[in-house]
Symmetry: C2
C-alpha cells in the first residue's frame, strides 16, 4: 500500500472533483426565480464572462511571451529543462480554469440564493454555501490534481519513477516550479485586474448613485449597478480563486523541495516504504487528505432556525472550520508518523546536521494550524463589529472624516503588532522544530483546508450578489434582510480569510526563500554586504509602490465610471423615474477596459524587478553567486514589507467598512444614538471609500506579490547557481588535504543532465557544527565534472569518496 | 600643524558659537514692536518654556534611570566602562540645551520678524533667517564641541593621547557612543513630544475655530491659538533642533568608529602626520569646516526687492545652500587628500582586503552630497505647489475627501520609488568606493552643512509664528502678506529638510549597523537563519506601530483640546465678540500634559524592543553571537521599514498640505476655477488633517527611531560580543596547523581592559579572498587570554605571531 501512496492525492483530488460535480448539479437544480431575477442574473453572468474572456485573451499573450522567454532560457542555459515551459503553460491554464469555474458557479448560485431566501434563511445559507463549496472543491481539487500529475510525469521522465539521488529530484522539482509560476502569474493579474474592476465599479456606483443621486445601493436605475455586481464575481470570486489556487500549489511545492533536501541531509538515500521519497510525498498527502476533510467540514455547515442572527450563521461556519482543523491535526499526526523516518538528519545553517524526530515535524504542522486559527481571531478583533478598535473609529467619526481616517489608518498599523509577533513566533518555532522543512509543513497544514476556506470565503460575495438581485428585482424586504445577514457574515469571513491568506503566504514565501538559497548554493543571505542590503531596501519599497499603483488604478477607473454614470443620468430621458433603461453594458465595458489596462504596470513591476536584478549585473560581468545573494536580499525585502503592508491595508480597510456598517444599527456617540445619514456616518462613508481599494485591491495582492517574487527567484536560481562554468577552467590549485581542521568532505551534485553537471565539494571543519566556506563548485558537462572530481581524488590520497554519491564521506 | 588637527574642530565650533552670540545680540536688538505684539510673543515664549521645563523634568527622571542601568551594566560587564554614563548624561544635557536654546531664540525672533515685516520683506527675511542662523550655529557648534571634547578626554584617559592599537581606540569610541545615545534619546522624546503637542494644538484649534466657529486661523478669540503657536516652537524648532543635534553626533561617531577599523585593516598602525589617527579625525574635521562653510552660506541669503515673490526668497536660500554644498565638496577633496594615506587597505566582507585610494573616499563623500541634493529635488517634486502629483490630488478633491485621501496616500507611497532607488544606489556606490567607511563619510559630508540646513529649516516656523502674531495683534494686511510669503517658502524647506534628514539617517544607520557588526565580532547578519529572519520581521513592524501610536496620541490630545475650546466658547461670556478673554493657558496646559503622557509608549517601544531581544534570550542561555545576529536582523528591519514609512508619511503629509494650499490662489478643476470654501477645498482640508500627524509627528520621528535603535545596538554590542567567557573553559581542542588551505592567521583584540580581554583568531584561506569561518574567540581576563594564546603558540610550531599586535601575521 505504501508504494501506492503517490496516487493517493490524485484519488483524493478526484473524489473532491466528483463531489463538486454532484454538488454543482444540486445547486443548478434549485429554482432560479422569476423572469426579472433571471434577467439580472444573466446580465451579471455575461458581464463577468466578458471580463474574464477579455482578461484571458490578454493573459494568453502574456503566457506566450513568457513561454518564449523560458524556452530561450531552457535552450541556452544547460541547467534548465524545456519541460518547465509546458509546466508553466499548464499552471496558467489550470489557474485560469479554476477562477473561471468559480466565477461561473457563483453567478449561477446568486439568483438561486435570492430565490431560496424567499422561503427561509436556512435554505438561503444552504444554497449560497453550496455554491461556495463547489468553488472550493473545484479549486483545491484542480490544484492537487495538476501538481501531483505533473510531479508523477516528471518523476518518471527524469528519474524513471524511482529514487536516484537529490540532484535528479532537484531537476524534477525545479521543472515543477514552472507549474507554480504559471499559476501564480495568472493569480497576480486575476487578483489585481479583478480588484481594480470591482472597486472601480463599486466606488463609481456609490459616488454618483448613493451620494449624488441619493438612490439606494443596487438600485436598478443606477447604470453602474450591474458592473458593481459583476465586480463582486470577478474580484472576490475569480480573483480569490486564482489566488488560493496559486498559494496552495506554491505551498505544497515549497515543502516538496525542502523534503528533497531532508533526504540529501540524511545521506542522499532513505530506506522507507514510500520509494525513498516519503518526505517529498508528505505535503502532497496532507493536501490530498485535506480535500476529504474539507468535504466533511462543508457538510457540517447548516442552521435550523429561520430567525437566526449573524452570530448563529457565524457559528455554523465556525463549527465546520474548527472540525476540519482538528481533523487536519489528527491526520498530520498519522501521516507524519507513518511517512517520515522516525528520526531524520537536517542541516541547520550555522549549526550543522541535527537529529530531528518525526514528532518534531508534527509539532511544526501544529504551529501552522495554531497560527491559522490565531491570525483569524486577531483579524476579527481589529475588524469585527462591536470590537474596541471599531468603536473607537466610530467615535472618531463624530469629529469628521479626517479623524475617522486617522483612526482607521492607526488601527491597520497597530494590527501589525500582534500579527507580526505571531508570524515571527511561528517562523521561529516551526524552524526550531524541524528547520525550513518544518516552516514549509506548517504552511502546508495551514493550507490543507483550502477547499473549506474557499467555501467560506466564496459564499460571502454570492450572498452579496443575491442581495443585489433582490434589490434590483424589487423583492419583499424580508428577502433582502435574509441575504443581508449572510452578507454581514461574509464580510467578517472575508477579513479573516485575508489574514489566513497572508499568514500562509508569509510561511510559504519563507519556504520558497529557503529553497532558493539551497538551489543557488549560496552561503546564506548576508545583509552585512552593502549590495545585499541595498536590495533589501529596494525589495521593501516594491510592495509600497505596487499598492500605490493599484490604488491609483482604482481611482482612475472609478473617475471614468463616475463620468459615464453622470452622463447617463443626464442624457437618458426618464432614467430616474424608472421609465428609461440605463445602459449597463457601457459601465461594464468601462470597468473591463480600465482594469485590464491598469493591471499591466503593477504586474510589470512585480515580474520585472527580479529579472533586472538578476540579469543586468550579469551583463556587467558580476559574479553569479553575488547576484544570487542580492536577489535573495530583494526577496526578503519584498516578503517583510509585503506582509506588513498586507496586514496594514487589509485590516484598515476591514475596520473602516465595519465602522461604517455600525451606523446601520445605530451607535452611541457622546451619549447620543447616531444613525445612517448623520454627519458622523458620512465621515464613516468617506473612510470606507478609502478602505475599499485597501482591502479589495492592493491589500490582497500583497500575498501574490511576495509568493510570485520568491517563485521567480526559484526559477532563476539554477541560472545563477549553474552558470559559473568558468570554474572548470580555473587555474587555481585545488587541494583538499587531510588536516586536523577538516573532518568530512561532502560532494553533492546540484544539477545534472545530459550536457551539464555541477558538483559542490564542501568541507566540514573540526568543530563539526559548521560547514567551512572552503567550498568548491565544479560545473560543466558531466564528463568535465567527472574528470575534475577524478583529478581531485588522484591529487589527494585522503580523498576517498564515491563521486556518484551525495553522501558525506569521511576523509580517512 | 598636522598634529594640532585634533583641535581644529573645537576651534571651528567655538568660532561658530561666537558668531552665534554676535548674531543673537543683533537679533535681540531689533525692535520687538508694540505692547500687544510683545504680550502675545511673551505668551508664546512662556508657553513654550513651560512645556520644555515640564518635558525636561520628566526626561531628567529618564536620564537618571538609564544612567543607573548603564552603571549597573558597566559594573557587572567587564567590557563596558563607567565613563559611558558620564558621556550619556552630557549627551542628554547638550541635546536638551540645543533644543532649548533654539526655542528661545525662535520665540524672541518671531515678534521681531513681525515688526520687521511692517517695514519691508527683505528686512523680515533678514530677521527671521537671522534667528534661524542663531539656532543652526548653536546646534551644530554644540554638537561638534561636545563630541570633540569628549573624544579628546577619552583619548587621553584610555590611551594617554597617543595611538596604541585598535582595541584601545574601540573602547574610546564605545564610551563616546554614550554621548550619542544620550543625545538621540532626548531627541526621540523631544521630537515625539513636540510633534504631538504641535499637532494636537493645531488640529484642536482648526476643528473648533476654523470649522465649527468659522473664525480665521490665529484669531485671538480662539483659546487654542497660543497653544498652536507654542506648538510650532516646541515641535518644529526645539524638536527638530534636538533631532539634528542627534543626527550630527551619530553620523560623525559612526564615521570615527569605521575609521578605526580602517586603521586595523591597514595592520593596526599607520604612520601619518595626525598621530596615526587621520581616518578617525577626518569626519570631525569635515564637521568643523562645515560650520565655517555654513556661516559663509548663511551670509549669502538675502533678497533686495520688497516685491519679491516666493520663488525669489526660495532662490536666495538656494544660493546659500548650493554654495555651501560646493564648498563642502572642495573641502572634502582637500581634507581627504591631506588627512588620509594615499592608499589604504580595507576589509570588504566576503572579498578580503582591498586597496583603496584616498580619491575613492573623496568620491564617496561626493555620493553623499549628490544624494542630499537629489533627495531634496525628489521631495520637492512630490510635495511642491504646482507639481503634477499635487495637481492630481487637487483634481481628486473634486469627488470628495475619500478620493483626495486615496490620491494623497498613493502619492506618498509612490514617492518611495525614486527615494529608495536613490538610497540603494548611494549605499552601493559609497560602499563600492570605500566600504562602510565610505558610507559613513557620505553621510558626514551630507551632514557637514547641518548649521545651514537648520537655519533654512528654522526660519519657516519663525515666519509662521510671525504671521500668527501679526494676525493676533491685528496688523495691516500687508504685514501678514509678507510673513505669508516667508511661511510658504518655509513649508517647502520643511518638506525638503525632512527628505534630507531621512537620507542622512539612512546612511548613518547603515554606518552604525556596520560598526555594530564589527563590534560584536559576528560573521555578518545572515537572514537565512530563521531567528534572524523572524527579527527582521519584528524590526519591520516597529516603525509601523510606532507611527500608529504617535498618530493615536495626536488624535487623543486633539480631542481633549476640542472639548476644552468648545467649553470656553460655551462658558466664557463675550468671547466671540472679543469682550471676554479666552483662557489660553488652559489649552497650553492640555497640550503639555497630553503630549508628555502620550510620548511614553512610543519611547518605551523604541528602547524596550532591542533590550528584550538582547537580554531575554540571554536569560534562557542562548549563544551570545546568535543573539547579536538576531539583534542585527532587528536593526536592519527597523532601518528598512523606518526609511520607507518616513518617506511615505512625510511626502503624503506634505502633498496634502500643499494641495490644500493650492486652493488659496485658486485651482482649475474640470475647467472651472475653484477657491477656498468650495466643496473640493473642504475635501482638501480633510486630507490636510490626516497629513498633519503624518508629516509633523510620526513621519519625522522615524529617523530618530532608526538611529536610536542602531545606537542602542552599538551600546549593547560589547556585552553581546564580550560576554562569552565560557569559551576559555571549553574543552574543545584548539589547533591551527599549517596546511595549504591556511594562508594567514590574524589575531585581533576586540576588547581589552584591566579585567577583560577578547581575542579573535581568524584564518584566511588559500583563496585569499575569503576569511574562513575557522575563527576562534578567546575571552576572559587579560591573563587568561594571554595564557591561551601562548598555549596556541606552543601547540603549533607554525603559529608565529606577536600577540600584542593585531597585524595579520604570515604563517611560516
Amino acid at each position: 500500500m505504501e508504494s501506492m501512496m503517490i496516487y493517493m492525492p490524485i484519488a483524493a483530488a478526484l473524489i473532491g472533483l466528483i463531489y463538486m460535480v454532484v454538488k454543482k448539479s444540486w445547486v443548478m437544480k434549485q429554482d432560479a426565480g422569476d423572469g426579472k431575477m433571471k434577467e439580472i442574473s444573466d446580465h451579471i453572468y455575461e458581464g463577468a464572462l466578458a471580463f474574464l474572456n477579455a482578461e484571458y485573451r490578454l493573459l494568453a499573450i502574456f503566457v506566450v511571451i513568457v513561454s518564449i522567454a523560458l524556452s530561450a532560457v531552457a535552450y541556452f542555459v544547460p541547467t534548465t529543462h524545456w519541460l518547465i515551459v509546458i509546466a508553466f503553460i499548464f499552471g496558467a491554464i489550470f489557474s485560469a480554469f479554476a477562477g473561471n469555474m468559480g466565477m461561473k458557479i457563483a453567478t449561477k448560485t446568486n439568483v438561486r440564493t435570492t430565490q431560496a431566501a424567499k422561503t427561509s434563511l436556512p435554505n438561503a445559507l444552504k444554497v449560497s454555501f453550496g455554491g461556495g463549496t463547489v468553488m472550493g472543491l473545484g479549486v483545491a481539487g484542480l490544484a492537487v490534481l495538476g501538481l501531483t500529475l505533473f510531479f508523477l510525469g516528471f518523476f518518471h521522465f527524469f528519474m524513471g519513477g524511482v529514487w536516484t539521488n537529490t540532484m535528479d529530484m532537484t531537476i524534477v522539482l525545479e521543472t515543477l516550479a514552472g507549474f507554480s509560476l504559471g499559476a501564480e502569474s495568472i493569480a497576480l493579474f486575476a487578483r489585481v485586474g479583478g480588484g481594480i474592476y470591482t472597486k472601480a465599479a463599486d466606488v463609481g456606483a456609490d459616488l454618483v448613485g448613493k451620494v449624488e443621486a441619493g438612490i439606494p445601493e443596487d438600485d436598478p436605475r443606477n447604470p453602474a449597478t450591474i458592473a458593481d455586481n459583476v465586480g463582486d464575481n470577478v474580484g472576490d470570486v475569480a480573483g480569490m480563486g486564482a489566488d488560493l489556487f496559486g498559494s496552495y500549489v506554491a505551498t505544497v511545492l515549497a515543502a516538496m523541495v525542502l523534503g528533497n533536501y531532508v533526504i540529501r541531509d540524511m545521506g542522499g538515500n532513505i530506506a522507507d516504504a514510500f520509494g525513498g521519497i516519503g518526505p517529498i510525498l508528505l505535503p502532497m498527502a496532507i493536501a490530498g487528505v485535506g480535500i476529504i476533510i474539507s468535504i466533511i467540514g462543508t457538510m457540517l455547515v447548516k442552521i435550523k432556525s429561520n430567525d437566526a442572527k449573524e452570530s448563529e450563521v457565524m457559528s455554523a461556519l465556525n463549527i465546520g472550520n474548527w472540525v476540519s482543523i482538528v481533523l487536519v491535526a489528527i491526520t498530520c499526526y498519522g501521516l507524519v508518523i507513518w511517512m517520515l523516518p522516525e528520526t531524520m538528519q537536517m542541516n541547520f545553517f550555522g549549526e550543522g546536521l541535527l537529529e530531528i524526530s518525526s514528532m518534531r515535524v508534527f509539532y511544526a504542522t501544529l504551529v501552522g494550524l495554531v497560527v491559522g486559527a490565531v491570525i483569524s481571531s486577531v483579524t476579527e478583533y481589529y475588524t469585527g463589529l462591536g470590537k474596541k478598535p471599531i468603536l473607537k473609529i466610530v467615535q472618531q467619526s463624530s469629529t469628521g472624516a479626517g479623524t475617522n481616517i486617522i483612526a482607521g489608518l492607526a488601527t491597520g498599523m497597530i494590527s501589525t503588532f500582534p500579527s507580526v509577533l505571531l508570524f515571527a513566533g511561528a517562523i521561529w518555532a516551526s524552524y526550531a522544530f524541524a528547520g525550513f522543512y518544518g516552516v514549509a509543513l506548517a504552511a502546508s497544514a495551514m493550507m490543507a483546508t483550502t477547499a473549506m476556506q474557499l467555501a467560506i470565503d466564496a459564499f460571502g460575495p454570492i450572498s452579496d450578489n443575491a442581495g443585489g438581485i433582490a434589490e434590483m428585482s424589487e423583492q419583499e424586504p424580508i428577502v433582502r434582510e435574509r441575504t443581508d445577514i449572510l452578507d454581514a457574515v461574509g464580510n467578517t469571513t472575508a477579513a479573516t480569510g485575508k489574514g489566513f491568506a497572508i499568514a500562509s503566504a508569509a510561511l510559504t514565501s519563507l519556504a520558497l526563500f529557503a529553497a532558493y538559497v539551497t538551489f543557488t548554493g549560496i552561503d546564506g543571505i548576508n545583509i552585512f554586504k552593502a549590495p545585499v542590503l541595498a536590495m533589501l531596501f529596494v525589495g521593501g519599497m516594491v510592495p509600497v509602490v505596487f499598492s500605490a499603483l493599484a490604488m491609483n488604478a482604482v481611482g482612475k477607473a472609478a473617475m471614468e465610471m463616475v463620468e459615464e454614470v453622470r452622463r447617463q443620468f443626464r442624457e437618458i430621458p426618464g432614467i430616474m423615474e424608472g421609465t428609461g433603461k440605463p445602459e449597463y453594458d457601457k459601465c461594464v465595458a468601462i470597468s473591463t477596459e480600465a482594469s485590464l489596462k491598469e493591471m499591466m504596470l503593477p504586474g510589470l513591476l512585480t515580474i520585472g524587478f527580479p529579472l533586472v536584478i538578476a540579469f543586468v549585473p550579469m551583463i556587467f560581468g558580476m559574479n553569479n553567486l553575488a547576484i544570487a545573494e542580492m536577489l535573495g536580499g530583494y526577496m526578503a525585502g519584498v516578503t517583510v514589507s509585503g506582509v506588513l503592508w498586507a496586514i496594514f491595508q487589509n485590516n484598515a480597510g476591514g475596520a473602516w467598512d465595519n465602522a461604517k456598517k455600525s451606523f446601520e444599527a445605530g451607535v452611541l456617540i457622546n451619549g447620543e444614538m447616531t444613525y445612517k445619514g448623520s454627519e458622523a456616518h458620512k465621515a464613516a462613508v468617506t473612510g470606507d471609500t478609502v478602505g475599499d481599494p485597501f482591502k479589495d485591491t492592493s491589500g490582497p495582492s500583497m500575498n501574490i506579490l511576495i509568493k510570485l517574487t520568491c517563485l521567480i527567484g526559484l526559477v532563476i536560481a539554477p541560472i545563477l547557481g549553474g552558470h559559473a562554468s568558468e570554474d572548470i577552467n580555473s587555474n587555481e590549485p585545488i587541494t583538499v588535504t587531510e588536516n586536523a581542521a577538516v573532518k568530512k568532505v561532502y560532494v553533492d551534485f546540484i544539477i545534472t543532465s545530459d550536457d551539464f553537471a555541477k558538483a559542490v565539494v564542501s568541507v566540514t571543519n573540526v568543530k563539526n557544527e559548521e560547514i567551512s566556506t572552503e567550498e568548491l563548485v565544479i560545473s560543466g558537462t558531466k564528463e568535465e565534472v567527472d574528470a575534475k572530481v577524478a583529478q581531485l581524488k588522484s591529487e589527494s590520497t585522503q580523498f576517498k569518496m564515491d563521486v556518484t554519491d551525495s553522501r558525506p564521506v569521511d576523509v580517512k
